[in-house]
């Protein structure tokens, strides 16, 4: 078995986008969703000051945002669906995210009679490997390039597109010694949230296996 290098995730963000299907372009049709959503989010300490009205330009811009946990989780409603952004995300918050998003769609179904048509989940993270360089970790990706003797490899980034998402590995600009990774996974509207998060977790494990990194 190949030994993995320990790697610390220094920064991680999670984003969920859930789509209504056809956009709700009539503002008045969206309004009945706000009150039941606010009631549902009271469980997570939402206060009137945490509800921010926006001036959307495009239909997929946020119309109203609910800032939870001092803005560390931001749930936004647009004319096309919901977006949840989590800063400092880690897997201990998976149940919290599940409960929030289930509450959203329950409110949407009750107030608008609309279910999700599709979902998109993504993780972006900065990873700092312990004791191994980016060059060592990504050297195998550079194989097909047949580097010339004068080409000194520093890091080989990749973008992989699959039928249900994409995976990016790149040098982290905020820390040149770190690796930036982004995983995007799309699901149909019927997939349950625990299943989606499990898939995303499996994607992260897969990424760790490919890079031979053990995320701490």
């Amino acid at each position: 078995m190949v030994e993995k290098t320990k790697a610390k995730i220094s920064v991680a963000g999670f984003q969920y986008d859930g789509f209504f299907g056809d956009p709700i372009l009539n503002n008045q049709r969206l309004v009945p969703l706000l009150q039941p959503l606010y009631e549902a989010l009271k469980t997570w300490d939402i206060r009137p000051a945490n509800v921010k009205y926006k001036n959307p330009v495009a239909a997929n811009d946020a119309s109203v945002s609910f800032e939870i946990a001092s803005g560390r989780l931001v749930l936004s409603i647009s004319h096309t669906g919901f977006t949840l952004v989590v800063v400092n995300a880690d897997w201990s918050q998976a149940e919290l995210v599940t409960q929030l998003l289930e509450a959203c769609w329950k409110a949407s179904e009750g107030a608008l009679g609309i279910k999700a048509s599709r979902h998109e989940l993504q993780i972006g993270m900065t990873v700092i490997p312990e004791g191994k360089s980016q060059q060592d970790i990504t050297r195998t990706f550079a194989g097909p390039w047949e580097l010339r003797p004068t080409d000194e490899l520093q890091m080989c980034g990749v973008i992989l597109y699959t039928a249900n998402g994409s995976l990016v590995v790149d040098r982290a600009a905020a820390n040149p010694q770190a690796i930036f990774a982004k995983i995007v996974h799309r699901f149909d509207g019927q997939t349950a949230f625990p299943e989606m998060l499990k898939q995303l977790y499996d994607d992260e494990l897969w990424l760790g296996n490919v890079l031979k990194l053990e995320f701490e």
Binding site: D45, A69, N88, S92, Q93, Q122, I123
Partner: protein, 173 residues
């Protein structure tokens, strides 16, 4: 109109376009820094579809976390009088973090939305080792019945996951 600056990406054109509107800043110092929003910076980083490296530059160095990543979020839900000690305890016992996130809505459902549960480290009276105690203070007349409900509906199903390192105590105001 507020000044705005944004990186705009077009996946089909390998050019990064930078747009800035100075009009609202004409009477203000140009060196004034925009507010650093951790949400905005992380969002920018996560949302980008191309040119990863350029977008990551938007993340300020002080966004790098050194401790338990989800601790600031947890501390927004719970009252944490000794944050360094609690974070250190949770870092050693990370299985408790998910339990605390899971417990919070159950606590609010049973004792109302005004309750602010408090995290403390106490010595376990039986084992003599430190455990995390969630102190619940309520003046509800049926606060102790709520504790029974909380136990039956949630805590008894999760008590094993806590490995003896977490408990809940109820106090009257």
């Amino acid at each position: 109109m507020a000044a705005s600056a944004q990186w705009a990406f077009d996946r089909d054109v390998p050019i990064i376009r930078y747009e800035i509107d100075w009009s609202a800043r004409i009477n203000r110092p140009l060196y004034e820094s925009p507010p650093k929003s951790p949400v905005a910076t992380t969002l920018a980083k996560v949302k980008n579809e191309g040119g990863e490296a350029a977008v990551q530059q938007l993340t300020p160095p002080d966004a790098v976390e050194t401790g338990l990543r989800s601790f600031p979020t947890l501390a927004a839900f719970y009252s944490v009088p000794r944050p360094i000690a609690i974070e250190s305890f949770l870092q050693k016992n990370q299985q408790l973090v998910g339990l605390l996130f899971s417990a919070f809505p159950k606590i609010r459902a049973n004792w109302g939305t005004e309750i602010k549960p408090e995290l403390n480290i106490v010595d376990d009276p039986d084992g003599g080792f430190p455990i995390l105690m969630v102190r619940l203070t309520s003046n509800m007349p049926d606060a102790y019945e709520a504790l029974d409900r909380f136990d039956e509906e949630w805590w008894l199903d999760h008590i094993k996951d806590a490995e003896g390192l977490l408990n809940f105590s109820l106090h009257s105001r």
